[in-house]
Symmetry: D2
Subunit: 420 residues, 4 copies
């Protein structure tokens, strides 16, 4: 329930913000056909239509229905269809079968979104809402905006016609130059989110950590450097790999990042949201698993940074120069400038850290408590944000996480090393 | 290449027949959305859009391109996308990934069909075609019409909303009465197709067989009888089952025909092309595997007929009274009349016979030779035709075949026994 | 229960026969260590110790316990441990976990055999037994003798040390010469077992069949001919293969018969009960699946014989000249003589026939009825008998059966063709 | 290479220690038959014979062969058969097929051990060895001693006869009383191994960590408490579980610790190295996965300790009172005394920490470097040591690790919580 005092300004900006985020999601669906929107290319991915509906369901389930009652729901079946993983709010459609939901239609789902938007606007105008829940719902929607892009790319990459989500030829830019290192000295530091601004529960509590000195690379590993790794036989030498990682590499027959293939002339090509494109040697490598990132680091005589090291650097360098120049370019772009470059908004950077709770972390009670806590097993933290991440999520404390074998996110790697 | 003599009449009727079959396929797609048409509910099934395109490809590949050349093709990629299993004509898209072909669109595929129809009409009018290949192509398309129905039903059955392909409430009819037996005496008989009318290669050559006397049930097993089997614990007693069958039954947790579930009031419900419906105790049971059919026969103290026995009866009784009364009712209907009822056109009837070549069978050379011969392993023959089978396929010699664990076809069972 | 009249002679010979078969099984275990006897190399195979115990259990379960009561059992747990697939007599240990039964020891199992032998000897001497069940039990034991050999070979082939079950170098013999054909004319024939001598239930009833004329090869396909098939790319050309067969071939990466591998000098080697040996080009090929046999036949412009054709030939040619010269040589030997050679006792010959019941076949009631009938699905018939088959099983009516992908039996192929 | 100065004493004690550890391993095999020693009950487990041979191979590969040359090897094939996972020293036999190595015999493997013992004794007496490598080899062997026990227990638990490795009835003891908490205050502490005594590479380097205050339970969770969790439906309520954990729980149908089953009278029974025994409510629960441990902690309103917290407590309490009273009792025993009880030597305690490198960790170069580093992914740390752990491994810095779904180790749980 919202606080009482200076109500109007907050509600006005909340409504504007709500509509802005919601409209962006709907706009993202514009280039898609009804068929594009329903297909599910693998169990990890969801159909675009499902993303559209699930993000609406979140607001209906946690903000509209508790106030307006179940009769305010657009369709009582939708809670079953579009719940993702919240056990506390009931049964749900099997994840791997989302691609079979040819009904409701895309049109129906867009009507569902409009219905929820109307009801939310009413609630916000009437002040009958929790600001915190609203902000959480929008952050949730922005996460699904990123997944929308990664899942559509994965779907289109399975199609031999290799369709483009958007027709635009990426511009090639200059060589970012040889990798250099930035030294960080021993430090007692406070890690984790604090303050009024929104953050996910897993970003806190803020807590004291001692961080031994380390070096961090000024930029992410590039495609050109990755090709050297491939050419050196890096994918076939277990000495570089974690044991689990090499088993996966052999079993799935990995020999390059996801989406890469060689053209007949030997040129490496990759699939992008702009359709098939030559691999740009100057751009950061992406669509690699944590296992590959770790193997590359061994190959390069370095290691992955811990998430604590990353955040230590991020606190110091969360300046404009470290944010990729273009907002949401949908493909990683070469890293310009000097010093620590492109920490934010180009590719997610795998870290050496397992996704585990910070000291004193307590999951919230109820369904909202299922947001992050129950995934704290078997996953690795990624930091920084990618070219398809909402700019609102580009902050030093943000903890993204995936299982270490996953490759369909815009995930890359920045090296660290112990000081010599 | 067509014969020369009395050309016009044949071409006129060929063209009419061609357009009739082709139009029927296109009409079947009318109730489907773009999303319905792309989804693939399991590897055994294909998307409706794929059926639409593949049947066009057959004519383009085997009749248009050989005469008009590759430049006459609608799109050079389509051969890769829409070949099914013909190894002789090149690589093809993986079967299990057909549901990811969100492009080309349904509209494009319908345009493809129109393009092929135009070219075929030209070829037929010009006499530049093989009548035999044309008839084969149409028989092929009619087979896919049946698969179109069974695959859409399977898809819609996966959707918790249980959409109907067509809104019509099936009429309930009278109890077909207790099962009676028809005696067939020892006979030396000729089995298999002969003559000018079309038949698939596997229906011949006609050959002599000695058939010992047998009894054949006057009608298929009904849902009501099947419920008695369920209630008697038939699904949990291995004594009735083939060894392979019981292993599958346990592993997939079968306890009723596919699509059946119990409503809260205990009533058995089933999913149909008309949406969910109560199970009609008087209608023939359908959507059962051969394993279930065989187990039921053991339970009933009977056995499955061999395909030779079935054809022996079919030759004698291929009269009107044995054809289900309504053409393509899309659900099995109660069996009326007396004597051997509904041999044709209600449910496919599993037989005791493996799908194997008749004596002297020779696959045709070239890609067309891949039509049936290479599937002669591990499959069981079904006879008679179902409520979604093209009437052109209702003949005594027709050999349908599926692996014995498959249930998504309109497959049922008619009992046989040795004379006492 | 046995008949009454001239009892003594039958019982005397029954006892002698019983002890002869039982002693042979025990003798087969002599070369094995306790470890060799317990290991299970795949779910299809059973440990030697299990074969030893299960064949004793058969007599205890069906002949001793019904007369002497459960107290006469050696150990009440053994019924659970050593039942194979008889649902009617209770629960049983999971097939795939037989290799984990390190207890009871081999010594205990041999004591179990001796215990059952003593009790059976008492029963036979006292005339308290069914002659038919005794003969069935011995035929059952002889089947397991063959499986004992095939399973030990499979186990030893998994061991990088490639141990020999028996040390003997097979002698190389002369080229059997080019394949010739024997013509069989149209015939009305009686197929299947009849008479007093033992046969399995599935070998009857004897019944009339019309067999169109056919040609049968005078000998089985040789290793030398098979090498030509390999060298011609036969394992990589789907045109020769059944659809199911080629899928298995690709999935399991078959490129030669089971147990074959190339030595460093390019020579084909194979694993045998005598340890690793060079492939003898003159000996019949063995350890091939039905899929490979069928593909080879296509490659050779021929086909597999049906089991009816095979038996037609076997009835005519069940003479000494058609039995492999050496009893139980444990490896296939080159085929000598003229006319139809080595029909019996060299390699099992895959046929074109599914394993299905003959007309009027009725499984026996009770557990014994589970012997063959419930396996009549998905399997192919093999005819003739191999170098590890008991000579008692070398008869024209014998129907062996395995799934068409199995290769660990001594299975080969003899070609047939339609008369030109 | 050893240091030079006061050589004799070190070598004398090294030899004594070497022979003591080696003899203990051999003695452990005494109760096993040749069959017990070869069987492999699952891919995670190894046959006893393999443990015996692999631990000898370690000394041969890394200490004997480098000095005496390959001709000193007992059998050149053994390097292939008995290498475990060291990629740097060549190819190896597939892990899941270790149970098929019926040859070499147990007798041969014991002769191999004696051969290596003789050669090692010669090397030690001659001073031609590295003390560090020797100590590593012995620590390696002691790890395999523990695995020997856990793997034999798993094997015997698969046998319906439930054999005992050792016949001894565990004594029941008193109720350890309600759980109490020990408070640890905020502390800057040094974590990890330092000094001359042996430790595995992953136990260091020693490094500074800030540890916020926490409470640690005075004892591990008992079987009685676990039964209450079961009775409260803990295995069926996803609210308590990590997401990955609940998926595994459902898929494998977990409803109690591994080896537990209910007797007919409702009593919980468990399989132990002493054969089947009633579950002792006073003894610590064991054979639980990390997922179950975590779910229990949630159920109990607590959490797992981090490995840093555990070591903080272990540094303070590594006194005699915290070591389970009996050396190697082979089953967990009730926890006696007061204060923090049985930290060491009763059950391994799952922690909240992923197995990851400490700051400045560097794997050693060469094959020895593969010891721990390449497993630093996807595994959880366990601390403390169990009833089958070598006493030499009972130390505060020891980091055991397994994937969080594993249950066949003697793994239990001690709760922690944030101070209220």
């Amino acid at each position: 329930m919202p606080d009482s005092a200076p109500r109007l300004p907050l509600e006005t900006s909340d409504l504007a913000r709500f509509l802005q985020v919601r409209d962006r999601t709907a706009a993202m669906a514009q280039p898609l056909s009804e068929a594009d929107a329903v297909a599910q290319s693998m169990p990890d991915a969801s159909p675009a239509k499902w993303h559209l509906a699930h993000t609406a369901w979140f607001f209906e389930e946690f903000m509209v229905a508790p106030v307006r009652g179940d009769t305010a729901r657009f369709d009582p079946n939708y809670a079953y269809l579009f719940n993702s993983y919240y056990d506390a709010v009931g049964a749900r459609h099997a994840r791997h079968a989302r691609g079979l939901l040819t009904r409701p239609s895309l049109k129906d789902v867009l009507a569902y979104r409009a219905h929820v938007d109307d009801q939310m606007a009413d609630l916000i105008r009437a002040g009958e809402y929790s600001h915190d829940l609203l902000v959480l719902g929008l952050a949730h929607e922005e996460q699904h905006q990123e997944l929308f892009y990664t899942d559509i790319l994965h779907l289109f990459a399975q199609n031999p016609l290799r369709p483009a989500y958007r027709e635009r030829t990426p511009s090639k830019t200059a060589d970012p130059g040889p990798l250099t290192w930035t030294r960080f000295d021993d430090v007692d530091i406070l890690i984790g989110h604090q303050g009024e601004a929104f953050a996910f529960d897993c970003e806190g509590p803020r807590h004291r950590v001692f961080v031994p000195s380390f070096d961090l690379a000024d930029r992410a590993v590039t495609n050109g450097e990755w090709i050297a790794f491939i050419d050196a036989g890096g994918y076939r030498d277990p000495a570089y790999w974690l044991s689990d990682g090499y088993a996966v590499c052999v079993q799935r027959d990995w020999n390059a990042p996801l989406y890469w293939h060689r053209a007949e002339d030997g040129q490496w090509m990759t699939m992008t949201l702009n359709g098939p494109q030559p691999v740009d040697p100057n751009a950061p490598v992406t669509h690699i698993s944590c296992y590959e990132a770790d193997a590359y680091a061994s190959f390069a005589g370095a290691r992955l940074p811990t998430e604590i090291e990353w955040e230590t650097a991020g606190q110091d360098h969360a300046t404009e120069g470290n944010i990729a120049t273009e907002t949401a370019p949908l493909t990683p772009t070469p890293q310009t400038g000097t010093g620590l470059r492109a920490l934010f908004g180009d590719v997610w950077e795998w870290t050496a850290s397992a996704f585990l709770p910070y000291p004193r972390f307590q999951p919230k009670s109820g369904a909202i408590g299922e947001y992050n806590g129950k995934f704290m097993s078997g996953q690795r933290v990624l930091r920084g944000g990618s070219c398809v991440t909402s700019p609102d999520h580009l902050r030093a404390t943000y903890r993204n996480f995936f299982h270490p074998d996953k490759r369909w996110q815009f995930s890359g790697v920045r090296l660290a090393r112990d000081p010599v």
